[in-house]
């Protein structure tokens, strides 16, 4: 057992658990944030993605002990209905999800990608989203939304 402290969606939190337990279970079960999902437990799908200090991270294979003192953001902390991240806003406008179980992977990865490279080309977006899964096959909407988010970010930067 270990006591691990970190920041989750802007709030300091502390979890007492097996140090080797993946962060996903701490976020979901110990801290009650349901939004990162278990998809594979193997870092093969992205459903559990959160940000660690702004970078996309697969929480299902990240030992709890490794986030001591770090800043973790979930999709809920990325933006709110009142103040959405550009990718979330674009997702709403494009009505992207079907079952929606995969969206953490796509939104958190795309947000990190565009935050770091707001002018990413279509090819860079496709490359940056490699490895993520969507079983419902909403990839067409996903691409439209990420491109729309890129445009929204360009507008914001221009104003």
């Amino acid at each position: 057992m270990a006591s691990v402290e970190f920041t989750l969606d802007g709030r300091p939190v502390s979890v007492d658990a097996d140090a080797a337990m993946p962060l996903l279970y701490a976020i979901r079960n110990d801290l009650g944030h349901n939004n990162p999902h278990f998809g594979c437990g193997l870092a093969q799908c992205g459903a559990c993605t959160v940000h660690l200090d702004g970078q996309a991270l697969r929480s299902c294979v990240t030992p709890l002990s490794s986030v001591q003192g770090k800043t973790i953001t979930t999709i809920k902390g990325l933006g709110t209905p009142e103040k959405p991240h550009a990718v979330q806003q674009a997702y709403i406008e494009e009505q992207v999800p079907q079952c929606g179980y995969c969206v953490n992977g796509w939104i958190m990865t795309a947000a990190a990608l565009l935050n770091g490279n707001p002018k990413a080309t279509d090819e860079q977006i496709r490359d940056g989203l490699a490895g993520l899964k969507c079983r419902c096959g909403t990839h067409m909407s996903i691409m439209r939304a990420v491109k729309r988010a890129r445009a929204l970010m360009a507008e914001t930067a221009a104003t």
């Binding site: 658990a17 944030h33 594979c40 093969q44 979930t74 992207v96 079952c99 990839h139 067409m140």
Partner: protein, 762 residues
Amino acid sequence: MATEFVQPLSRREFLLTSGALVVSTSMSLGVSSTYAQTGAVAPSPQFPSPDQLDSWIAILPDGTAEAFFGKMDMGQGLEVAIAQIVAEELDVAVEHVTVRMGDTATSCNQGGASGSTGVSLGAKPLRNAAAEARRILIERAAGVLKVPADKLTVANGVVAVTHTPASSVSYADLIGGKHFDAAVEWNKQVGNFMDVKGQARPKPLGDYQLVGKSVPRRDVAGKIFGTADYVTDIRVPGMLHARMIRPPTGGSTIASVNADSIKNARVVREGEFLAVVAEREWDAIEAARTLDVKWTPHDVDPFPGADGLHAHIRDATVVKREETTRKGDTESAFKSAARIIEAEYHWPLQSHASMGPACAVADVKSGEATIWTGSQKPHSTRDGVAKLLGLPPEKVRGIWVMGPGSYGRNDAGDAAMDAAYLSKLTGRPVRVQGMRSDGTAWDPKGAACVHRARAALDASGKVIAYEFVTKGLSRVNVMFNESDPRDCLTGMTLGLPLNPGAGLGSPSESYAFGAKLLAWEVVPPLLDRCSPLRTSHLRDPLGPEVHFGSEQFIDEIAAAVKADPVEFRLQYITAPRDAAIVKAAAEKAGWTPRRAPAHRVRSLHAKVLHGRGIAYAQRSDTVVAVIADIEVYPKDGRIWARKFTVAHDCGLIINPKSLRQTIEGNVVQGLSRTLFEEVHFDRNTVKSVDWASYPILEIRDAPEEIDIVLINSTDVAPSGAGEPTMRCVPAAVANAFWDATGVRMRRVPLSPPRVKAALAKI
């Protein structure tokens, strides 16, 4: 936010605490408009009765409406479509209609999500009930306002005197929060075909204001901001976490279990039903990984191996054969033929591989059970759990909560049944969730099959006989719902007697050939009990499987007579809507006649080869034609289906935007199944256990463009869009591959190694 389900209150307590009374049944079952969020209602003492208007529609005290729906939206926009239809008939704003879906305590058994019938069948009773509710409300308004009903107009839930609109009364004032206490005529059907009628006739098409509009879905924001709860997020106080233990090889049985091999968890076992439970989820996962179980292997290796599967099917005995079409005498036509074309096509086992493995939560106590499930068919879950636990169905409540994807009879039914049995055995609420391999290796699989096709041509090249026979594993080896525990791993591990069903499918088209025989033949399951390769419904059951063969074979005949594939189809198609849909796709795509492959492979040094192919099919009353434009990269065997053109006619369109996105999802998932998906297994073990060993399409391989032509046949009732497009995708891609390379791909998936191997033979 954690969803904690507090101790269920009795109905009486609930009414006292909530203050709001909305009633959905004649049996005075209290149902809160906020129930879905709070869960604060005891299990239903009775099912809603279909012959009561209150079972379908309620007007709340604030004048907004609730519709109680026995099907569910799996993310294709069904919820908003139902809201549009109900709002249209009631004359209320669409945002004032809430659709309550898939709770057996509040909805009639409309069959759950099934066969793309959400609108085509599922909306019918809601539409009729809403029309009847409006009629009754106008009648009451006539009494209140003291004018004849035909002098009244309704808008936005307010009934007004047509020529003196100041004289009005609202739905809220007429009935808000109270029963209609009115009967509707029920057709006595249970499931998809359940329908009711009142005295009112639904509105004529010309009066529609909401139907046909792209009203935004209402489930999107909760999914995007992480506030919507999935079945995986349900937590009941005192619940245990469980993981099921499945045998490592097909047909193995438990020799011994060392309960001391795990910590912070305990073993739950009855017969071959084996699980670990723990207070903490991670402990359950670790215990499942470390539990020391000795297994006794099956007497013989039960499987033929993936590479031997189609030979096995070809040679297997037939347990059931059905001729779905027999017209004329094909045998004598083949004897007199000037030329015979033959081909055989193979479709592999495929997995639902839902985005997450299934999860369910069950609370069984005091002779009652509540099951939270992501199953497409919560009413079937209720019936199956009742049988499993020996409870009357009215003591069991199935509550659908959106799950990690669906696409047919996936692993959700097994999870629900496992959770219920574990709750019974432990006396505690139990949450069970699979690990990735449970979702990929252990879900019921889509049927594998072998199609034998042959066509007889006369001297002029006319098709005088056509045969297409599908032989394969049953689409209902286990039933497409979990209404009987013997169809779930739970019942199988507990030793319940089996009752495998036998069924497959045939092409759906309108080609008129001189003589025609369409048939299917079912072979026995590879392993009869607890098989990871048991087969059941996978999205559009037998649609992609069959039409991959039949629509490719049509192209093969066309090529044999040097006919253009579009012209050839139009020559033999008889149904006018079918011909129209093929023409619409061809026109939209700018199809140019092609009587031979455009770019026969002369050299594998070509970096990229381009090809175009078409396929068309019917499904129920929907017709679809798909044209694929693909690129083939011979060096690495990659196919990029860069553009699809889809012409789609599903009758009257309810919501064009949702429809387009549903079609896109069909194309992409169909493309994934065409290019990548095959369950790998050896003589006794399934090797496809995760996304690395069961790859699906990723965004790099998604099309660049899907161009969709929607035909709005307003004179045809809505006929479903959740599945039809998918069945055209595999053959469209394979036909495009032939156009690009001159090589026929008669086995799915058209994966890079198989493409390279096929091109290497040239």
